[in-house]
Symmetry: C2
Subunit: 370 residues, 2 copies
Amino acid sequence: VKTPVPPVRALRWEGEAPGGRLVLLDQTRLPEAEVELRLDTVAELVAAIRRLVVRGAPALGCTGAYGVVLAGQAALAADDWLARVETGATALAAARPTAVNLALGIRRVLAVARRQAAAAEPEACCRDLLAAARAFHAEDEALCAAIGRHGAALLPRQATVLTHCNTGCLATGGLGTALAVIYTAHAGGGIREVLADETRPLLQGARLTAWELRRAGIPVRVLCDGAAAGLLRGGRVDAVLVGADRVAANGDVANKVGTYPLALAARAAGVPFYVAAPTTTVDLACPDGAAIPIEERDPEEVLGALGRRWTPAGVGACNPAFDVTPGELVSALVSERGVLEHPDRATLAALLGAGGGAGGQADTAASSSG
Amino acid sequence: VKTPVPPVRALRWEGEAPGGRLVLLDQTRLPEAEVELRLDTVAELVAAIRRLVVRGAPALGCTGAYGVVLAGQAALAADDWLARVETGATALAAARPTAVNLALGIRRVLAVARRQAAAAEPEACCRDLLAAARAFHAEDEALCAAIGRHGAALLPRQATVLTHCNTGCLATGGLGTALAVIYTAHAGGGIREVLADETRPLLQGARLTAWELRRAGIPVRVLCDGAAAGLLRGGRVDAVLVGADRVAANGDVANKVGTYPLALAARAAGVPFYVAAPTTTVDLACPDGAAIPIEERDPEEVLGALGRRWTPAGVGACNPAFDVTPGELVSALVSERGVLEHPDRATLAALLGAGGGAGGQADTAASSSG
């Protein structure tokens, strides 16, 4: 199976360093308009991250990595180059303090700054920072590609696939996770149609997944989240494919709210339920789903959508950001290392052990990056 | 258990007949404004029904019954009184041709017109029509009250109850079906909180259920439909209570899309899943859920909400109006005749047989009345 080129990029670096800039696709304008923002300073980038111009844990990681390059460029003429870079990195991380991947990308490039600052001129250091950021981005893209290849082999020809939230090019530095599987299968001629849950409350499915799949020429229809179970029962779906915010040591999966009912309905209908995520999402330190705290988000998200409110004044809402799917409902975990059927404590430990010490970095806080 | 007075009325007759009028609460203005419309003619009522000023199968039935009284009043001075009433009734039924209950209410009062037209003056006939419409309405109110009494006995004290769509005062001529249970339990001090699914795509839960429960002083919070399963798994709900559009002979339940995943999640969590509906909803002529055709509604409903569109141009939607919950997931059917635990072919036949020939009138077309 050949890996297709990502049909769209959430972010890219333009030019070299020093002198280059970060280009973000403004996701707040989608699907109405495709607008790129060119950012030259950390302050601009912090504002963009706060406005959710870019979201999705892996995409935020890459954004953070390039953000440190912006900090390095801005400090070229300063005596205290490294101190300025550190200040910029701190400001960047504070733009979304709960986004673990953002911090991860920042840390990787900041480490290079610390290592090189004494040995080289700021200009040379900037080149090194950009190389580190590009490497971080390339790693993410490679993870996506590998997940796509392994997952595509699971789908029948001309499959109808149901997915949830946005786990594609807009959420990562490459093809995505669950959507990487769909892109790769489609390149091999294997997708009849994607059914995309609209994914209330923030509508990432209706707004973003529908947009990027249509742009890639893949047939897609949107449905209300509550309609998925009936479609599965009706025998119209070959597989359910979702991402993950965190996989516990026993295989329990925390993901965007609305994932768990899909797993129940898939099981009842005898349809496979696949979770696509890099092994960094597996957290062996987390024993099971019960140990994962459920983040409760702003009720306003539920009381309306996109600025329009339709719930009566004085009525509150319950707004858990994600839910937990028991590991026994997961048909397979598709990671960059391959397909792990029926993930459980023993097989997950073996998967991580075999490839050497991943795990532990993932955090449910990443669930707020969707 | 004492039956409370309905906190709000979807419809009522004002004055006597001739000379009276039908008053509808304009549900298209809810929850922003509580506006009553006074209707004197069939033409006005047809327009109101088309605009969805009134919805919900039982409420449409009562509306149809009173509509025939309007037709009788308007024809008072005509030589061909009965012919005019027939014409009005036909126009009324055509306002929502798939709403079975609307036709049912019209038929009941029209039969009185046909019986009395030869024997009495139009003015006396109008009094008879109003008496028939009031009787039809009173029957619906009594069904609601009985469902409420039987269902309330099932709930623990200070229960947290999860519900879907709107099955209350706004949908019926009385307290509702699933919400009648909640109103009655609350009058006995038994409701801690109602969790109301927003019920995409038309948001009857967020707009209507939240409004009428709040107006009645019952604590209510709204949630996205996809969040219900996780809350059930988290042990925060004592019972799920929903209505039904049609119950097949084997106990399979067709109801508003999004009901079936609630039943799956309730079963997985060990939480009882109750269906509240009058026995007229049971259709012994329908062998099982597979025999119920799934109405597909306008994709536009899914592509946005309340006039605002958020899905990219060119992307379609899948919009089944309801789904089918297998009878084995139903803990009990709560009807006006009592609580039927684990409804199946034998127990449903016995239930209907015992009370004499109900069933057969229900039709899934009523699902379009929500």
